[in-house]
């Protein structure tokens, strides 16, 4: 597919990184900054173009008329919209724009329809949704959804006192008797796609796949709290805080926002009349203790500075048993950050890039490949892919245990017209189903790729 990406900031770069792995796309990137373009063309197999992406002549140089998709992710909402508008007229291509001003967010649907955009992405809003999902279900570290939310992939850590520690998967499934499947186990540096005799250890990070209903049941059975949090404390009063507070308040969660900027606090209080807004410096421990960090059910650090967020979360972990969520914008030392006790990590740019990339995949379906959605787990080392099964697929009509699957591949879930089936060896895939495949291999593009 021919794709133009306008703006090579953090999101643009994330998108390039993810799309380039698939090797199927011809990508042209446009940015005003020569250095950014030099850097990206040195490191990735893409074409670079220096200029204003909203200019018609630049777009024509990028061959917009032959392009299938234009993604505008510059820092400016207006330029992004203008880019898409021109590309739509000149190239008649699909367009995705990043629009993040809360002022526009209420009019998203109108803008999208009027300008003929295929998708509008608001990274802050997307991240806020992700955080709200975590707060609704605090036992999980990370939750991804498939099949329009019917299937969930949840990350949990096996603690010392967990009933699962030192048990084989067969014993675990006998014990919980729920329709769930443990699909990946991360232990230190290694990632396993486990089979029956695999023994879980304390400290393992496991990913389970379950239908949304069953996952609650499963967590209750193993003695985890499945209630959503009652209150939350958010530090930092930016756009993401606004979106998050709005969602949480609608869910009936009490929200307390701490920010050191008086004016911002005032405008937040106007926009969020139900929230408690505290004007204070959260890097001062006293302020947090005074505002009751010790008793709060959850703590979210959303300031604009990653280092501050990390320290706040580390501090919160020492003060509260509740759920802690940390936002990381820029710092790229993933390996080190994951060794800290920071609760759940949120990377807004990666979330936005994931949304866009999954749209690209869906578009690709109409052209050839049939990956419906794809989610990366365990910092990109595991992929969960949703495939649509056609009537000529080689895997239909036979029990799964008879299929000669490649190593490191697991069929995690079958979605039959909305009914979620967690597959067993005897399960049979039918035409019209969608299946979710979990794998440590990358580059699967068709369901037949899972067979030897």
């Amino acid at each position: 597919m021919k794709i133009i990406i306008v703006g090579c900031g953090k999101i643009g770069l994330s998108i390039v990184k993810q799309l380039i792995i698939e090797k199927k796309h011809d990508i042209t990137v446009i940015d005003k900054n020569q250095d950014v373009i030099n850097d990206i063309t040195n490191n990735f197999d893409v074409m670079g173009l220096v200029g204003n992406g909203a200019s018609y002549s630049v777009q024509r140089e990028a061959q917009v008329e032959k392009t299938d998709l234009l993604i505008a992710v510059t820092g400016s909402d207006e330029i992004n919209l203008l880019c898409c508008l021109f590309a739509r007229k000149a190239g008649n291509c699909n367009t995705i724009a990043r629009v993040r001003d809360p002022l526009y967010s209420k009019e998203i649907q109108y803008i999208k329809d009027e300008l003929g955009l295929s998708m509008i992405i608001n990274p802050e809003y997307a991240a806020a949704v992700e955080i709200s999902r975590l707060l609704r279900f605090p036992s999980a570290d990370k939750i991804d959804t498939f099949a329009k939310g019917r299937v969930e992939l949840l990350n949990i850590v096996i603690t010392e006192d967990s009933p699962f520690a030192d048990k084989t998967l067969i014993e675990v499934s006998k014990r919980v008797l729920s329709d769930i499947l443990i699909c990946t186990v991360e232990r230190g540096e290694d990632i396993f796609i486990p089979n029956g005799p695999f023994i879980l250890r304390a400290g393992d990070k496991i990913t389970i796949v379950a239908s949304a209903v069953n996952s609650r049941e499963f967590f209750t059975k193993i003695g985890f709290d499945t209630h959503q949090v009652k209150d939350t404390m958010i530090v930092g009063g930016g756009r993401m805080t606004y979106y998050l507070a709005e969602i949480l308040l609608k869910m009936g969660i009490r929200v307390k926002v701490v920010d050191s900027d008086r004016e911002r606090c005032e405008s937040l209080s106007e926009m969020l009349p139900k929230a408690t807004i505290i004007n204070g410096d959260a890097t001062n421990q006293e302020v947090l203790i005074e505002e009751g960090i010790e008793g709060c059910d959850s703590f979210v650090s959303l300031t604009g500075i990653d280092e501050t967020n990390i320290f706040l979360s580390l501090f919160a972990k020492t003060k509260t048993q509740g759920k802690v969520v940390t936002k990381i914008d820029r710092i790229s030392f993933d390996d080190i950050i994951s060794t800290f006790n920071l609760g759940s990590l949120i990377y807004p740019d990666k979330i936005a890039a994931d949304y866009i990339v999954s749209y690209v995949r869906a578009m690709q379906n109409t052209i050839g490949s049939n990956v419906e959605t794809m989610i990366k787990l365990n910092s990109g080392r595991v992929e969960a892919l949703e495939f649509k099964i056609t009537s000529n697929s080689p895997i239909i009509g036979r029990p799964l245990m008879e299929l000669n699957l490649k190593r490191d591949i697991l069929i995690g879930c079958i979605n039959r017209k909305g009914t979620i089936i967690i597959p067993k060896g005897q399960s049979v895939v039918e035409a019209g189903d969608t299946v979710i495949v979990v794998t440590t291999r990358s580059g699967l593009s068709d369901i037949k790729d899972i067979l030897e």
Partner: protein, 479 residues
């Protein structure tokens, strides 16, 4: 420095070269020459060695600019060393340094020879010499990227290190597609020339050798008098194709994409064609009295200009005998070379243009000290770094040039020979003036000079840095 990746890539290059080496072996079989075993033996060993080294992908694929430079520099050295083996073990060139000189001259598309009589060589040897021009013309790494692309950053760093010109870009977003388009254009043009030469009366062997040597802008001839004994239409054919191969290949891509307007925007190509026209007119006017027919003078002038400006190095007459004005013009053309992004060598027209514009801007800044003006090319402002790197390139070029002349002057030849022989090798032209003129050769130089020439040819083809960096100790530090 990630040595594992470099060795892995070198393995692929050697395997590829070995595969090409089977072709002269086949030529030897066709002409029933008893040297066929040398080519097949080296090809077989090269394939084995190359595949053995590159069978396992190294774990650490970290690849930065310095690895790119080192890989490309070493590849070309190694290619010349391996390419010289069949000539050496078949005893056609009994001295290994001579053989390496001949093959570096081939791969770098120089066309300078240490052979006093090429007609005594076997058909296989002559084919291999000419065909090495074709391999080297577009670059073996570009070929490698067209057939076996590697992970993301590796590709770009390799291409950047091998491709000539101040700014290296791709034609289309994907490296593999870009390399394939380049080779497709290259192959198609070569094929057209081969067929047309055949129709014009060359035998197939002559036609293919001449076509591949022209395509790479190399200049190895298969006859002692180069192209002189062929008919006038063939001379014009070669002239036109030399000039075509000296044009930036972007032009052909734009032609294929039907963007005719964009072609006229490329200043470099305009300057290049203008320079050819001007030189031909002046040289014709200054030599036509010595010819019986005006047409012959024009043919010779055009051929020599085309041959020198594209750094091919064929000859149809001994321009050593010409008066000094045409000789001076030829020396200027030796310096400028052809367009960036072509198969030709030299400083490249785009560099000369950028350099002259930078001079103009500097002069202007004395008159209007507060004026700010960007250096423009093809209707767009150039990055300051590009202008700077062009200026530095000139300085570096001069340093290496004079350093080489100094070492070569230890030898027994006169000034003109020394100066033009280094220019002819460094800019990958082939013939110079006096002792290394079209009728002369490099056989008489001592081995020290020959090694300097080998270095100059490789440095010139790869635009100095990849070869120069190989000799910088910090490059090889592990961290």
């Amino acid at each position: 420095m990630n040595i594992a990746v470099i060795i892995y890539t070198l393995g692929r290059v050697i395997a590829l070269e070995a595969a090409f080496m089977a072709l002269p072996g086949i030529v030897a079989l066709i002409y029933r020459e008893n040297v066929w075993w040398a080519y097949f033996l080296v090809a077989l060993l090269g394939m084995l060695l190359g595949l053995l080294v590159s069978i396992k992908k190294p774990k650490n694929m970290q690849f930065f600019a310095k690895e790119g430079f080192a890989t490309v520099g070493l590849s070309w050295f190694l290619m010349s060393l391996v390419g010289a083996l069949p000539l050496f073990i078949s005893r056609e060139i009994p001295n290994y340094i001579d053989a390496v000189f001949e093959m570096s001259s081939g791969f770098t598309t120089t066309g300078a020879t240490i052979l006093t009589s090429v007609e005594d060589m076997s058909h296989a040897a002559n084919f291999w010499r000419c065909f090495s021009h074709w391999i080297g013309g577009m670059g073996i790494i570009v070929f490698l990227l067209a057939v076996l692309p590697m992970a993301g950053s590796v590709n770009m760093h390799l291409l950047r290190a091998e491709s000539p010109g101040p700014v290296v870009g791709k034609l289309v977003p994907k490296m593999k597609d870009s390399s394939q388009i380049l080779y497709l254009i290259y192959f198609a043009l070569t094929l057209i020339q081969f067929v047309s030469l055949w129709i014009m009366g060359m035998n197939p062997y002559e036609a293919i050798c001449t076509a591949v040597a022209t395509a790479g802008t190399g200049g190895f001839g298969i006859y002692n008098d180069s192209i002189a004994s062929f008919s006038t239409p063939i001379k014009w054919n070669v002239t036109i194709f030399m000039i075509l191969f000296g044009i930036n290949f972007n032009v052909y891509f734009l032609l294929l994409a039907r963007k005719f307007k964009a072609i006229f925007k490329i200043e470099e190509v305009r300057a290049y064609l203008g320079m050819i026209l001007l030189s031909v007119i002046i040289i014709t006017l200054s030599i036509f009295r010595t010819y019986a027919k005006f047409g012959d003078a024009l043919t010779d002038a055009a051929f020599q200009v085309g041959s020198i400006i594209t750094t091919t190095g064929f000859a149809t007459c001994d321009f050593n005998e010409w008066p000094s004005l045409p000789k001076t013009i030829l020396i200027i053309l030796m310096l400028t070379g052809a367009c960036a992004g072509s198969t030709g060598g030299g400083l490249k027209f785009s560099r000369i243009l950028i350099g002259m514009k930078a001079v103009k801007q500097e002069v202007n800044s004395f008159i209007h000290p507060r004026s700010i003006k960007a250096v423009e090319m093809d209707d767009r402002a150039l990055d300051k770094n590009v202008v700077k790197s062009v200026c530095v390139y000139f300085v570096l070029f001069a340093l290496i040039y004079f350093g080489s002349v100094f070492i070569v002057s230890i030898d027994k030849y006169d000034m003109v020979t020394n100066f033009t022989s280094v220019l002819a090798t460094m800019n990958n032209i082939g013939p110079g003036l006096n002792a290394v003129g079209p009728s002369g050769n490099f056989a008489g130089f001592n081995y020290l000079s020959k090694i300097v020439f080998i270095f100059d040819m490789l440095a010139g083809r790869l635009e100095l840095y990849p070869i120069l960096l190989l000799f910088a100790p910090p490059m090889w530090k592990k961290h």
